[in-house]
Chain length 220, copies 6
């Protein structure tokens, strides 16, 4: 880290480096030469993907350790839509810690009235709804629907995009959403195309969280 | 505006240039040479201060006109805690429009669990609570309390700061707030000192809104 | 105005005299020789129809002026379902000011458990839901659906009625509404027929607001 | 009942004729020669006062019978703040049935932002809060406080009024209420004086309910 | 009652002894030789079935009398899903009184995230939703749907079970429920089979209430 | 475990055997010779006390392992008021898993209208309120207050009891609670005395959870 230039650590809690690379790519627009450095790091101890509560719990203490032992970073972003370890990381540092679900949804509230969320799997929806109730914003949820794609399918760009469009249209037309949140750090590559296809704002939660982190770091 | 460099227009809806200058000063940390240009503008048609619903309504159409007729700006911030004209401005542009109450409160939700708001006058509290219900986040409000200072008093830095501290402590100790939002664009100069005095995060809503605007502009 | 006989001013904020005439007709049952005088007035400065937030903002100050400068009226009703200028009018008079959305929905809460609203256009629904959240009654909303008729179509009595019935049945059968609010001042002529067709109460919000105004005026 | 002139039956569910007489007096402003007849009736089977859940349950079936067997009345008002028998009366008639708690609170929502309720006894508050949650309007409650007067004390006009003022001031100053509902049919005589003393609207729920009944009857 | 062995009185408020017998059978697993005695009693004064608000009101005072006059019972369960007389029974005894709707729903909240309720008739749904709002747990409701069976049909085990499965699947698949509450004391016989068929927990509210009563009695 | 006799495993997630012993003592009334066996076990891997989010996260995986690897137990109770690991334990077993905060609060909802919670430390209150929002029952919270005792002080029975009484009285008199939940597994010894002193029900959450577990086990 350059002396005097603060940095933001964006932690991908799964150990899939391709996901981290995708994040880094999605965050390129937020890289400013005069702004905070943005460092994307893969949590080595993490599972290859975070799909279950077990996966979530398996990363909370490694995340806590990473945050606690880091004296150089000015703000942290936990870049998994389940916001694993968010509370415990906040407990061990005086620096701000942002979760991408929290920031993605809160940012969406500034861009539309009722939020639609695209989840990876049906099984995640229940967990996300618990989080929205905990956040106290459940009245703003239009609905959450899953693409239910396997990793193999989601690797095929076009198939994934078609599913995102179909689910996004259901959220818009059937549930009344006027802003969409991508409920997974790995969907970022499709954000702009999906926004054009649906005609309503689409929020990448990693971008949303890093934005808030930049602000927090800059204003001190 | 430099060709190709996007700009954010921060509109102070009152005609008090000193308030606009204060904003510009508070926003200096967010000015990045490689980031969006941040332009603070005083709304000439605005009243000297916005304290009543009449004041609010008097600026909605001027704000709408300003936003509608501006093809150069990439994102707008309406820098009055009553979020005047927010909905109408959103209707006349495809660019994102941010209100500082919305952004201040939503940002606070990432920094604490229950939000305390410091208002200028008791009379504003009712209006703000309507806004929090409309936003669907009222369950996160710890309380809102007013400093009830006249302009003359608030000009005296120390007196104002002492009042901010006293009200902030009541919000923290009596109402259970663990994050504070400054409920007025004009309190920004005291943010850092107040944060230190209270020991909990203090959010300047103009900084919060400009942060979100920067993110929206950069990610396109 | 007869000396000593108080009057209620019902203001149609659009400049379409036919709408004002329709209101006056719908209010005939509430005209009592010994009760308050009910005066329906067209806001000359208003747009021909109020369909957008721009339309709404364009009438708030004219409504404010009208209310502020009127020393003879005992209570005011703003007869547009978007309740334009409601807060600012309340600020400039000690007399009660009623909005028809507020009164229509609150009255519906006395006639059924879950409220269905028939909107003119899909675009209005989002605005109305913001209002219901602001009112703090969103848990009583069964749903809101739009007839999406053009003015030309709505002029054809039968076509309009058929659409009202179809939308009303969806609100009742699909959304579980057991009371309907007409989400527009112009649908009043169909109220009784629609109530018979659906078999559940149908509330005309102008009648609801004028009723509350009559009560407020009579009890002083 | 004069032929063709519809009537509203206001039922005092307790057997205290003095309370019925007080209601009738409070309703005099709503008696219009050309409007519906307003008949106040004491429920003979009722207890002398309704202070407990036992008292409430003891009147539900007598109220039901009275409503069911009455073919002449156009609308019913159950004039006890606990709204006893409201649901069962609605089940046995096609005519509208209004409860004074429901109508008092809903009417208050049109006159202020946050409602304060003055109860007779502390023991009633819990019951009223259940009703406000059931109505789905609990977010609008500023607070409820009791005068805790005995019947003997409340008979002394001045003592009662002083207690009403003290409790009303606490609701306004400590709880943030900007409109008051009298949580008992027997406080009506003090409404106007209390409104003047507090400087915010004070709603008599019997007047509120009869107003809504008049509207429902007149519009058919 | 054996000396020293406390008893729980489970009151079936309808006079259909077959329903009481069904309850007793469903409660057999909760009968422990060393635990409280569980006595199921038919309310003789009750109607043959409780389907309307009239039916509900007709049993509140008989239930009250039964509870008030019983000095031997340690805890009471009112075994009708409308929780008739719950508040009044609580008023006349210091012993705990449990309602099966309350206990069934609260128990379901420990077994799933969003609750689906199977009602007997469409007409009951509105009443149940009022109760869920009053309980303050409406945000946890996935949906409520009715089997709409006649008594004759429900007597045919297979036909009833097929309807329960169909409605249960709609609650699970369309409404997102992950736990089901049987909204009637008479469906208990199908609980285990339905749980197997749906693959999510199914709660019999009588068992849930008696469980809570056992706990309350044992801990004193 | 006797063949055929099901067992409930009550896990104290801290490693303080004295706390486990206290639980076992408080659960003695629920031990029935013919009912499920109740086994209290200390989590060896746990910290000596669970006071922070770090403490919570440190036990989630050990709890998960314990639950996952146990094929003999019929139901699990996690006996720490922060409900650590509740979701992950539910994921790895088909058996019901109960958290004491969930069960304590839900049981309290059957014994009073508004719940007061006595916390050990001020720092826990925020965490508990997040949980109540997540549960969707925050509208039933009267308030939460902490005794703020050190372990040394809480060891002195009388001093602890006096603090519990003082805090309980504030919850009752200032916050309007009519039922109290002990917000810590270690306060159980004072439950009965506190209930007598306050005159309102006091719920020990471990007893509440084990009660629900007994019911779940017995009905299968």
């Amino acid at each position: 880290m350059a002396a005097g230039r603060p940095s933001i650590l964006v932690i991908n809690p799964n150990s899939n480096q391709a996901v981290t690379d995708g994040m880094a790519k999605a965050l390129q627009p937020l890289l400013l030469s005069s702004g905070p450095e943005i460092i994307c790091r893969t949590l080595e101890e993490g599972p290859f993907g975070i799909e279950s509560q077990c996966d979530i719990e398996s990363v909370t203490l490694p995340l806590r350790d990473l945050v606690r032992d880091d004296n150089l970073t000015a703000a942290f972003v936990i870049a998994c839509y389940s916001d694993p370890g968010l509370q415990v990381c906040r407990e061990v540092t005086d620096k701000p810690v942002f979760g991408i679900q929290e920031c993605g949804v809160l940012t969406a509230l500034t861009r539309g009235d009722r939020v639609g969320v695209i989840a990876i799997k049906d099984a995640s929806i229940r967990r996300h709804m618990r989080a929205l109730r905990q956040m106290g914003v459940i009245d703003r949820l239009a609905g959450e629907r899953a693409v239910n794609l396997t990793v193999a399918e989601s690797a095929q760009g076009e198939g994934t995009f078609a599913r995102l469009c179909a689910v996004g249209r259901d959220l818009k037309d059937l549930d009344g959403a006027d802003v969409i949140v991508l409920g997974c750090a790995g969907m970022a590559a499709h954000r702009i195309a999906l926004e054009r296809a649906l005609g309503i704002p689409v929020i990448d939660p990693v971008q949303a969280a890093v934005t808030m982190a930049i602000g927090a770091v800059l204003v001190g």
